[in-house]
Amino acid sequence: MDLFLQQSANAVALGGIYALLALGLAVVFSIMGLINFAHGELMTISGYVLMYCGIAAVPFPLAVILAIGAAILAAIAMERIAFRPVRGSSGATLLVTSFAIAMILQMLFQNLISARSQPVLLPAILSESVTIFGLIIGVNKIAAIISTIVMLIFLDWFMTKQKTGIAMRAAAEDFSIARLMGIHANTVIAGAFALSGLLAGVAAVLWVSQRASVDPLMGFTPVLKAFIAAILGGLGSLKGAVAGGFLLAFIEVYLSAFLPHGMQEFREPIGLAIVVLVLLFRPNGLLPAKTLAAEKV
């Protein structure tokens, strides 16, 4: 039972990161139909900023702000330079464009920084752990859980109470009508990218604080997982992204904790097979986006 609770806490911490990443993907997808492969590279950029801040002995809270800010700026720049020229193209064109951007950024990191994994200096408190209700939980995991909750509350407030957030939801339902209502396309799309950068930045800080290293491919794997989480939850649906992120994390953590030793090698295929199974019964995901049903004929 203890092991179960312990692993559940781990799953919540991991699920939070997946959820934040999947949310970042969903925000952009719901508005412009782009699945952003380069989302992981936003994470990597944040990771490198943390690394350089550690080397320059910048106070950690400031380093976190700089890292998140860098991801936001990078996301906005990415939209301006790479995605604006292909705006409105087919999903495949957008996807391929983002794939190429991801590839270029990865190669740039390898050439300009290092192909190898680099250590990141973190405050000692993050690697300590505390005992809550008999469970030993790392401070970094608690930080991840709290940050996720704060981000989800913030996002909910932003999307329901803030003008830009409401405009984004309108644009997600019907972009052309939203534009006729006086919503600026550029503002909404740039806003969506900034938001996705923010989410990627927070996820990166949480990810790095549990691993204390960064490499050129750092963002690639978690974002692959976030893709799967986004599909699992329902592509383009924000609530679905959160649900999918947590469900995927629970599947992964429980499999790695409870799968017999001989089967551990097949952990990833089995986990994905479970996801496929869920999708067979709910092809549009756990909480499908409304826009799927609203296509005009």
């Binding site: 997808f29 139909g33 699945i35 790479a82 020229p85 292909v86 193209s89 087919s90 999903g91 495949a92 064109t93 996807l95 391929v96 464009t97 794939f99 190429a100 951007i101 590839m103 270029i104 990865q106 190669m107 740039l108 390898q110 050439n111 192909a115 692959l224 893709f227 799967i228 986004a230 599909i231 592509l235 090698e265 097949f266 952990r267 990833e268 295929p269 994905l272 097979a273 996801v275 496929v276 999708l279 067979l280 092809p283 549009n284 995901g285 296509e295 005009k296 004929v297």
Partner: protein
């Protein structure tokens, strides 16, 4: 000059064969280095064209097809690997496999068959997803296959190198495989299944409404493309002699996808173009990766310069020519366009009369969108041979009604009877096959296909494709668009597109035809001509027509009976004269305070 599809395909096949022979011949003339480069080129091209068979025709990008390539590689290698090597490197193999040693051809064929089985199973799952979700699912498939390959040590040697595979693929074998794959892909593109799938890619809702079972065609192309990938993988394994799971993962996926995308994924011409361009660029870049001097500037060693170069080419292609260098048409379609002629003599021969006439009655039809009741408990009947007008103010539920009566929407409540048989749980493809055809308010044509193909696909997808060419010709002649048949439907003017849509619906050989604002955007002469055509269709072929339009002159002159909707309810029905004087109709259109003077 070219008057049929067959001649065009013949030109294509001959040139593919010539291409294979010439390139392989040149390569063997220049020696072993060029032979290696060209062999890799051929094998890559097989994979590219394999991905194109699925992605190009269905419009769904795939990231997962290298999984099939991997299965083909491992399966064929396990069969050709000499028994003595197997006993040392793979001691845990089951006996039957440990003692098997086949030649290249049977091994490749077995590997392809195995892959087909796997693809069929996986395809059923992937097929449930649409668009981008399907793309990500293929990505998941790649990760699963990679994980299984690494975990299944007894058979695959895990992450370690799988070596000792006899090197049986030389440049001529690769060329042969490539020519075969190109021909299969080219023939599939213009096969019935390929055509239907491309229609679904251009407009899924319209394709379904003329009877195309998109998922079925998608599965066919998925399995065929997996088979081609397996061929590529098997040849690659017997070219390299040693490989590991990494060979079938992201790096090579990126490399092959870039060929597909830069060239243009919808054509075989595009696959070849992309493979040539990317092969040349990457060969050049790879040689300069260790640094070089350009105009006396020292360029230092750049790690992964090939990838950056390819990524930049992709970006350039996406920004400037998103459909790829080769565009949407095969080279032979551009240089040797088909010149089909439909003569009037064929018209008399082809005037196959509609045999199945049936009336339709729908009761209790209700459609709710959340809290909004768009159509509320409506009863409607359409008899064969009559023209029934459906009018009402904007937002009164006319199009929703049409969508329910054609299977595009399934009603919240209500029952539809065709003749005396209820239509239950049917999608729009099923409705089309039962003889209910329709057009759309906002035109839905297959823009990248020709007018002939647009109409022909409808004929092929209904009545089991019987007499499809005759039905196509007859529908085209009826609408008077015979001189447009080789033009792309997307390039026509608005009024002509409407006519193509009606011809397409007629080619389904329907007993009932729904037209959603057919005269919108037509000038008075065109409207007049359309009215003549429509009344002919109803009288001569005894097709029942349900006509939605705002042009009351057209409705009044053409319709035998009119029903009027307001706020989702049927408020009146009767002959045009009765409707003209109906009080509640006037109220609906002009407001409650309207006073008759």
């Amino acid at each position: 000059m070219i008057s049929s599809q067959k001649q065009q395909l013949f030109i294509s096949i001959i040139s593919i064969c010539l291409f294979g022979i010439l390139v392989a011949g040149f390569a063997s003339f220049f020696g072993s280095v060029s032979e290696r480069v060209v062999s890799v080129f051929f094998i890559s091209l097989i994979a590219v064209v394999g991905m194109g068979v699925y992605s190009g025709n269905s419009g769904i990008l795939t990231f997962g097809h290298l999984a099939f390539m991997g299965i083909g590689a491992y399966a064929s290698s396990l069969l050709t690997l000499p028994v003595r090597i197997k006993s040392t490197t793979l001691p845990a193999l089951p006996d039957w496999l440990a003692t098997t040693e086949l030649g290249l051809l049977p091994a490749v064929v077995s590997a392809v068959l195995l892959t087909v089985i796997v693809a069929a199973i996986v395809g059923i799952a992937v097929n449930r997803l649409e668009g981008s979700a399907a793309t990500i699912a293929t990505l998941g498939m790649l990760i699963i296959a990679h994980g299984v390959t690494i975990g299944w040590r007894d058979v695959t040697r895990g992450a370690q190198s799988f070596f000792g595979v006899p090197r049986l693929t030389d440049v001529w074998v690769a060329a042969l495989g490539c020519v075969l794959a190109l021909i299969v892909a080219r023939l599939y593109r213009d096969s019935n299944s390929g055509l239907k799938l491309r229609a679904g890619r251009d407009n899924a809702i319209a394709a379904s409404a003329i009877g195309v079972k998109i998922k079925r065609e998608r599965l066919i192309s998925w399995i065929l493309s997996a088979a081609i990938m397996a061929l590529s993988g098997a040849l690659l394994a017997h070219f390299l002699g040693a490989f590991s799971p990494k060979k079938f993962y992201f790096t090579d996926t990126f490399f092959l996808l870039s060929m597909l995308i830069v060239g243009g994924m919808t054509t075989v011409t595009g696959a070849v173009t992309g493979a040539v361009v990317i092969t040349i660029v990457s060969e050049v870049l790879r040689r300069h990766e260790g640094g070089f001097t350009f105009l006396s500037i020292e360029v230092p060693t750049v790690f992964g310069m090939t990838q950056i170069g390819i990524a930049l080419i992709i970006l350039f292609a996406m920004f400037k020519k998103a459909e790829g260098l080769a565009g949407l048409k095969e080279w032979e379609e551009r240089i040797f366009p088909i010149k089909r002629k439909i003569t009037a003599s064929e018209a008399s021969k082809s005037a196959t009369k509609n045999t199945k006439t049936a009336s339709l009655s729908a009761t209790n039809m209700t459609m709710q969108f959340g809290g909004l009741v768009a159509v509320d408990n409506v009863l409607i009947t359409i008899k064969s041979g009559e023209i029934l007008g459906l009018i009402g103010p904007n937002g009164s539920g006319k199009t929703t009604m049409l969508n329910m009566l054609s299977g595009v929407l399934s009603p919240t409540k209500g029952q539809i009877l065709l003749g005396d048989k209820p239509i239950i749980n049917a999608n729009s493809a099923k409705f089309a096959q039962l003889g209910i055809a329709r057009t759309f308010q906002n035109i839905r044509l297959f823009g990248s296909l020709t007018v002939w193909q647009n109409v022909n696909i409808a004929a092929l997808s209904t009545n089991d494709g019987k007499d499809s060419d005759l039905r196509t010709k007859s529908a085209i002649l009826r609408l008077g668009i015979a001189d447009l048949i080789e033009q792309d439907a997307g390039t026509l003017s608005y009024g002509l597109q409407r006519k193509v849509e009606i011809a397409r619906a007629l080619a389904c050989n329907p007993s009932l035809l729904y037209l959603d604002e057919p005269a919108a955007g037509m000038n008075p002469e065109e409207t007049q001509a359309l009215m003549t055509i429509l009344s002919d269709i109803a009288r001569e072929d005894s097709i029942g027509i349900l006509l939605v339009d705002h042009d009351l002159k057209l409705i009044n002159q053409l319709c035998d009976r009119i029903i009027v909707f307001n706020e989702g309810k049927l408020i009146a029905q009767g002959t045009p004269d009765e409707i003209r004087t109906n009080h509640s109709v006037r109220e609906a259109y002009l407001g409650r305070n309207y006073k008759q003077d």
